[in-house]
Amino acid sequence: MTRYLTRRLAHAALLLLAVSVFSFALLQLAPGDFFAPLKLNPQISARTVEGLRAQYGLDRPWPVRYGHWLRGVFHGDLGPSFAYNSPVAPLLAVRARNTLLLTGTAMLWAWLIAIPLGIVSAVRRGKWSDRAGGVVTSALLTIPDLVLFLAILLLAVRSGWFPTGGMVSTAFGELSGRGRAMDIAYHLFLPALALAIATLPALVRHIRSAMIEVLQAPFIRAARAHGISEYRVLLRYALPVAANPLISLFGFSVATMLSASLLVEVILSWPGIGPLLLEAILAKDVYVVLGTVMLSSVFLVLGNLVADLLLFAVDPRIRMES
């Protein structure tokens, strides 16, 4: 177990290092830096712009800056934000919390809906309810996330039932503790729903096919032949075996969830890392971009690590290999 864990952690660290080098290099390849637009301001002199660049070390070559940044990371310093005149880490912390709240809720919903749906359509394979489900999931799969999110925004605007953005209402400060929780839940509903719908169809289809495969296995027939109830066969015998590919799927779904959440956050003004990242990319606030990319990579790596550990726990074959 320890050996397995160390090997996985070493992989993760290497991956993160590679991501950081590539992101940093790519950010430097694009011409112009954060302070370039100031050059077009008639009221700001070139000397001042150069002074600002020097203050943030932008006059040094990028490998030097990368080394400096990397050294900082080991001391918990993710570099400065040029725009915010402040370290990147605290900027990310609050927003990452909001993003986790959103993606966590959406992930929970998506799985809670997908597992029963997937099982039901596997059991009723070929029947009309399975086919209808197939049509709906393929339709949802073909709709681009952007269109889906805009449609949901349109629903909010037209109906007036839901807030059109933000995480709390303007009167949040005057609410009681319970009222505040309700207010956040009210604002959370639409973005989380959008995100859950976006990831749901792929999950349902994977669960369905995994279950179908297992249900055809000889041991299931044997179980049925022993007169064990269908309900028990499904949940006690089939599901744990089908769990294997689903756990790997969980690791991947963290990645899709994170990239979709960036879009949802921007469209529905959810104060997560999405709007921060978008603004930082447009403004070339490089350390903010880098910090956000690294944070997303860490989430991704952690998601996969958790999935691997779960697999390790449930699948004896993996235990044998290591």
Binding site: A30, Y84, V266
Partner: protein, 581 residues
């Protein structure tokens, strides 16, 4: 001997009236005789105004702020010595209740209001002013405001005369000196001196500070900042203005800035009634909002052209040292005045107004828009679009047509590309219309939308471009804010920046005119000088001015005293007078 500013006299008169009217309403700790009294409808006290910001403020430090959202918030939190009234576009007293200018125009002596307090209750006096300017002018801080305070190559100097008098001295007379003070927020020495001396100033007053570390002289003070969501300001009980009934200003109990990352989302939030005021939005959104203007509780205003001018310009840089032979060859066209005149004549400015801005813009032929009533030159001709005239001009310059395509005197087909910023949809559309207009002259134009940073790099560093469509927004209605654009050694003399000596006779003339207007104190004489600059721009076409978008604003009907203006901040400049019903 000096001359007192007329605005100071008016204010003094107003103050006297206020004292007679309601002496009992003066707040404790504030000398009522030095309060400034504002005209306008007395409003209701209390309530909250909610507005959206395109992105978060990055800092609340007035010395370091460079982006508009930060400045928008800082303007509500701070005050300057002399202020530009956004309605009249003229200077008026602010923290300085009056000022004298020495005969030679180099010395400004400012009388500060007495008994004022910062929003934390600490008293304000000349030491705070001297400290503030020391920080702004510190070379190590690299404040972008510093450049405005450098006159004739030397930073202005500040001397404390007594507790409520300060004297500013400039290296040369400076016509718009009063306007320099606008937006230079006075800092509380008692809160910032330690971090300034201790070297931590670059992170002072960033958004992670506690609200009680912050204080200013503005109508509001910081209440709470929620990262990614909003910043809330509360009424400053020590504010130094009152209405004509003697009620202390501001009326509003709170101002809340929500962070809404896109224009469309802002429009939606405004439409839904979540926010109370809206500015900086496109004519398309204006049209959308207009449809529901009657049924929902808001109204919209089209203020006419602002101070932004959009233009096309060609690369006239000296490319000798750069390895850009293709562009250098094309410069023989760009440098030919008749070529530029032909391009200008062939562009359908009214078409741009109609197609890009849905009619909510104004065609222009020089850099001063009709919105800038103090400085616009009415004598500038506004020729209609004429492809025939363009053809005549090109013919007279030796150009001809081969199979409908324009060829230059050496037989080379005329073809060039126009850079625009991909993030600005309007300017990309303008470039596309120019492409179409010029195709009627047989000129092939490619439109190249680029990332803004990449575009700046090409315009300002590598000079690797042929033509570009850009816009500038004058920081102020006064021509001094445009010095760097029109001086040939200016860094934003876009078509050919940083010239060692003027490349053309007309640039040399323009240099002389701009330098002279800077030191001339008489408005009428300055106007004559700047009129001539506008004439040169219209005649020589270093930039082909095209269009100035109208300033569009909206406000909820419940907002009282709403008087939007064409100078930033368009909607909230009189936030100390706004109230909600």
């Amino acid at each position: 001997m000096g001359r007192t500013h007329i605005w100071a006299k008016c204010a003094a008169l107003g103050l006297a009236v206020a004292c007679l009217g309601a002496p009992t309403k003066a707040r404790a700790g504030q000398a009522s005789d030095d309060r400034m009294v504002l005209e306008g409808v007395p409003g209701h006290a209390g309530g909250r105004l909610v507005v959206a910001l395109r992105s978060e403020p990055k800092t609340l430090n007035p010395v370091l702020a460079v982006d508009e959202p930060s400045r928008e918030v800082i303007r509500c939190l701070s005050a300057d010595l002399i202020h530009i009234n956004r309605a009249s576009l003229k200077t008026e007293p602010a923290l300085a209740k009056s000022w004298n200018v020495s005969r030679d125009g180099r010395q400004y002596t400012l009388q500060l209001r007495r008994g004022l307090r910062f929003s934390d209750g600490a008293p304000f006096d000349a030491d705070d002013v001297v400290f503030s300017f020391q920080v702004y002018l510190d070379e190590k801080i690299d404040s972008t405001q510093r450049d405005l305070l450098v006159v004739g190559g030397k930073p202005i100097t500040v001397v404390k005369v007594d507790q409520y008098t300060v004297r500013f001295e400039m290296a040369q007379p400076y016509a718009a000196a009063g306007r320099l003070f606008d937006g230079v927020a006075i800092l509380p020495r008692h809160l910032l001196e330690a971090s300034y001396k201790g070297g931590g100033f670059s992170e002072a007053w960033n958004l992670s500070m506690a609200a009680n570390q912050f204080a200013g002289l503005g109508p509001f003070r910081l209440k709470e900042y929620v990262p990614g969501q909003q910043v809330t300001l509360e009424r400053n009980p020590y504010y130094w203005k009152a209405d004509r009934a003697g009620n202390p200003l501001p009326y509003l109990g709170e101002v809340m800035f929500l962070f809404v990352p896109s224009e469309d989302a802002q429009v939606i939030r405004f439409q839904a009634g979540d926010t109370d005021a809206l500015s900086r939005f496109s004519s398309e959104n204006f049209a959308v909002l207009q449809k529901q203007q009657g049924t929902k509780g808001y109204h919209l205003d089209d203020l006419g052209p602002g101070l932004e001018y959009n233009f096309l310009f060609f690369n006239l840089n000296d490319l000798g040292a750069k390895n850009l032979p293709e562009i250098a060859k094309k410069q023989s066209w760009f440098q030919d005045l008749r070529f530029r005149q032909a391009v200008s004549a062939a562009i359908d400015r009214d078409g741009i107004v109609r197609l890009v801005y849905g009619g909510r813009a104004t065609a222009i032929w020089d850099q001063v828009t009709p919105g800038n009533k103090l400085w616009v030159d009415d004598k500038i001709a506004h020729p209609k679009r004429s492809v025939e005239r363009a053809r005549e001009l090109l013919q007279s310059a030796g150009y001809s047509w081969k199979n409908g395509a324009l060829v230059d005197p050496r037989g080379k087909a005329v073809e060039f590309s126009i850079l625009t910023s991909a993030s600005n949809a309007q300017r990309t559309k303008i470039a596309t219309i120019i492409q179409d207009d010029l195709s009627q002259l047989g000129i092939t134009v490619q439109v190249v939308p680029l990332d803004f940073h990449a575009m700046v790099d090409r315009l300002q560093s590598s000079y690797n471009y042929e033509a570009a469509v850009m816009g500038l927004v004058s920081g102020d209605a006064d021509p001094t804010s445009e010095m760097n654009v029109w001086l040939s050694n200016g860094e934003t003399h876009l078509w050919h920046p940083n010239q060692a000596k003027p490349a053309t006779p007309w640039e040399s003339e323009m240099d002389g005119l701009m330098e002279k207007q800077l030191v001339t104190l008489d408005y009428a004489k300055r106007k004559q000088l700047y009129d001539r600059v506008q004439e040169i721009v219209a005649e020589e076409l270093p930039v082909i001015c095209l269009v100035s978008p109208n300033i569009l604003v909206g406000a909820a009907n419940r907002v009282g005293n709403f008087r939007p203006a064409i100078l930033v901040p368009y909607a909230l400049w009189n936030i100390d007078q706004l109230y909600v019903q």
